[in-house]
């Protein structure tokens, strides 16, 4: 046996503790190669950084028939030692050199046997396939169409469910209904109140700046009253409820799906639509108009604060102007919108929850998706209702 020259030594300049420095040294006795490892071959010392050097050195040794390890002077090791062992084993196989497994310590042999016990499964997952533009567009179209299909079938199932409920043939969960009513009403008042007050305030400020120039500051009352009653009360409440309640519906139903609670309902022949979706949908649709009325009032109050504080308008003047400018049609428009928005928020939340995947991340995605879908549909529905109203001159 003879030690190879200094060029055979590996780079260990980044290590300071001389006892722990992992060293690899290739020597040769006749046709037998001996790979001597010394020092700490652990994750901490990163001995495998010398792997390339070892493999290059082995490549230089032509005509060898056998390779053995000498680990007598190794200070400590962990599973990272298997990296160099397995790569050297692969090198031996490629170069037709017998790999002397018996020279390895018992623990290393045990780990190698364990890692080889179950052969690698060809799952095809690691192969990265690049999709063509046509495939990307095609997949996106298929996904969009199936999403619309799922949405439409959900609407259909909801209608069927309400049909069953109206005939008294559904397992309607009244406890959930009352609980959702409470969550969508009393518990939502503070946040709806705050946002509506600030919306009325902002509306009045914007109006005041413009109208004051023409001496028409009093019309701030008209702007706030009609704006809140027809549009902003319903839209702001809808957006708040989409973020608050729609997301909660998606997360609640989604986590029930993850924990197989929905499967448990199905196996008892209880429709999840009747038991989980309809009570939520009904409760939110009934509560939304009340929340919007409350929002309108608080918004008008916000406008009054600006009018009283900055425009020298008395409370009586503001109130008279408000009541004269706002008709029942305006209030009814807001209420119709609110009921539609309530249905949209509940449907988006429940549909996303029912379509949720089977893991924690999917629940989060379902909640996010419910909010995005809810808000988008609210704005779109608002525009559609406005156009219909204009066409019908209502």
């Amino acid at each position: 046996m003879h030690a190879i020259s200094e060029t055979g030594r590996m780079d260990t300049t980044d290590l300071t503790d001389s006892e722990a420095i992992p060293k690899a040294n290739v020597s040769r006795v006749g046709e037998k190669l001996i790979l001597k490892l010394q020092g700490d071959w652990t994750l901490r010392y990163g001995g495998n950084r010398q792997l390339q050097g070892v493999l290059s050195e082995l490549d230089r040794q032509s005509g060898a028939a056998e390779l053995e390890f000498d680990m007598a002077d190794i200070a400590s090791w962990d599973t990272s030692l298997l990296i160099i062992v397995s790569r050297v084993q692969e090198w031996c196989k490629a170069h037709n050199v017998r790999f002397g497994r018996s020279s390895l310590p018992l623990g290393v042999k045990g780990l190698i046997a364990l890692s080889e016990e179950v052969p690698e499964r060809k799952t095809g997952r690691s192969e990265k396939k690049s999709a063509s533009l046509f495939a990307i567009v095609g997949n996106a179209t298929i996904s969009g169409v199936s999403g619309v299909n799922a949405g439409l079938s959900f609407i259909g199932e909801t209608l069927v469910s309400f049909g069953r409920i109206s005939r008294g043939r559904a397992a309607f969960d009244w406890r959930l209904f009352w609980l959702t009513m409470e969550e969508c009403s009393a518990q939502a008042l503070p946040i709806v109140g705050l946002i509506s007050f600030l919306t009325g305030l902002i509306f009045a400020f914007v109006g005041a700046v413009q109208l004051r120039q023409f001496g028409a500051g009093i019309y701030v009352a008209n702007l706030v009253a009609v704006g809140m009653a027809r549009e902003m009360g319903a839209i702001m409440t809808g957006i708040i409820m989409a973020g608050r309640t729609g997301a909660a519906f998606a997360a609640q139903i989604g986590s029930m799906k993850v924990s197989e609670e929905i499967d448990a309902l199905r196996t008892l022949a209880i429709s999840p639509m009747d038991f989980l979706v309809s009570p939520r949908l009904l409760a939110l649709s009934l509560m939304m108009p009340l929340l919007v009325l409350y929002s309108d009032l608080i918004g008008i109050l916000g406008g009054a604060v600006v009018a009283l504080g900055f425009l020298d308008i008395s409370w009586i003047q503001y109130w008279n102007q408000t009541t004269s400018s706002m008709g029942l049609v305006d209030i009814a428009t807001g209420l119709i919108k609110s009921a539609v928005f309530g249905v949209i928020v509940a449907m988006a939340g429940c549909e996303r929850g029912m379509q949720c995947g089977n893991n924690a991340a999917a629940v989060g995605n379902a909640a996010t998706s419910a909010v995005v879908l809810g808000i988008t549909c609210i704005v779109a529905a608002d525009a559609v209702i406005d156009v219909i109203q204009e066409v019908l001159k209502f």
Binding site: D40, L43, S76, R125
Partner: protein, 282 residues
């Protein structure tokens, strides 16, 4: 971390010498009281576990097995008593020291507790990325080796939701072993697994212990596992709030060697029966 040797016993003794600087037990629990607020679960627990042993915490449902595990891994603060690892106090250590000690732990939770948004490879790689200075290529190699050790080579790119319960547990074990911990903790490893998968997991635990010399703590009430893998064990009794047995379950099951409750537990309430997991006496 350990030194190479053909003798496991030698290896084990070297481990404790290396880690502690003396021959202190791998785990030492002194007068530990377990409680939730004012409700005391277990009093005056004292036991030791030697390095390289498989230690079983057993007892009936609700006796505090998993709670003891939480104390051992630092998820619950010790109010009374002390926990030491290799002679160094864990419960009285500074937060920084504690964190360092916790990096020598690997924990396999009951359901695997894999991060669902990450692939199996990413799950195993995360501790390595956080606590080692390995390059991305080296981490990838280590991850492949860990997954191969638990028989999941080829499943690197799978998400936890796409694999079976048994595979999730094995992947959880690969993650627990990511940093080559000196101590591995298992919470109900066999729960929910079929007998064959459960047996394979037991075999894996033993082979990892034999190859790596890791000290292993297992919370379980699965009798076949207890008799197969235990070197030593303790039995927690909810009624007396005491640890009423300490020793090898094969010894504890023999008549007159332990509290009758322990025997009753190990024999599934039937004193005439051969314990499940033990060969039938001829």
């Amino acid at each position: 971390m350990f030194t190479p040797s053909d003798s496991i016993a030698e290896k084990q003794s070297t481990v404790s010498r290396k880690d502690s600087g003396d021959s202190a037990p791998a785990i030492e629990v002194k007068n530990l009281e377990m409680a939730y607020g004012s409700y005391v679960l277990m009093r005056n627990m004292t036991f030791e576990v030697s390095a390289g042993q498989v230690f079983i915490i057993m007892g009936g449902s609700g006796c505090g097995k998993s709670t003891l595990l939480k104390y051992l891994i630092g998820l619950k603060e010790v109010e009374q008593g002390e926990i030491l690892y290799h002679g160094r106090s864990f419960s009285k250590a500074s937060p920084e020291e504690r964190e360092k000690m916790q990096r020598t732990f690997g924990v396999l939770y009951q359901g695997g507790a894999l991060w669902s948004a990450l692939t199996l490879a990413e799950n195993v790689a995360l501790p390595l990325e956080q606590y080692s200075k390995l390059s991305a290529g080296e981490i990838s190699e280590v991850v492949s080796i860990k997954l191969a050790l638990v028989g999941l080579k080829g499943f690197e790119e799978f998400y936890p939701a796409e694999i079976s319960g048994g595979m999730r547990k094995r992947a959880g074990l690969a993650r627990a072993m990511a940093l080559d911990p000196a101590l591995l903790f298992f919470d109900e490893p066999s729960a929910g697994l079929d007998p064959l998968t459960s047996r394979r997991l037991d075999d894996l635990i033993l082979r990892l212990r034999d190859s790596l010399g890791t000290t292993i703590v297992v919370v379980t009430h699965e009798l076949p596992s207890i008799f197969t893998i235990a070197d030593t064990s303790i039995f927690l009794d909810a009624e007396t709030k005491q640890m009423i047995a300490h020793g090898n379950p094969r010894e504890l099951v023999k008549a007159g060697r332990s509290d009758p409750k322990v025997r009753e537990f190990l024999l599934r309430g039937d004193p005439g029966k051969t314990p499940i997991g033990l060969p039938r006496e001829k």
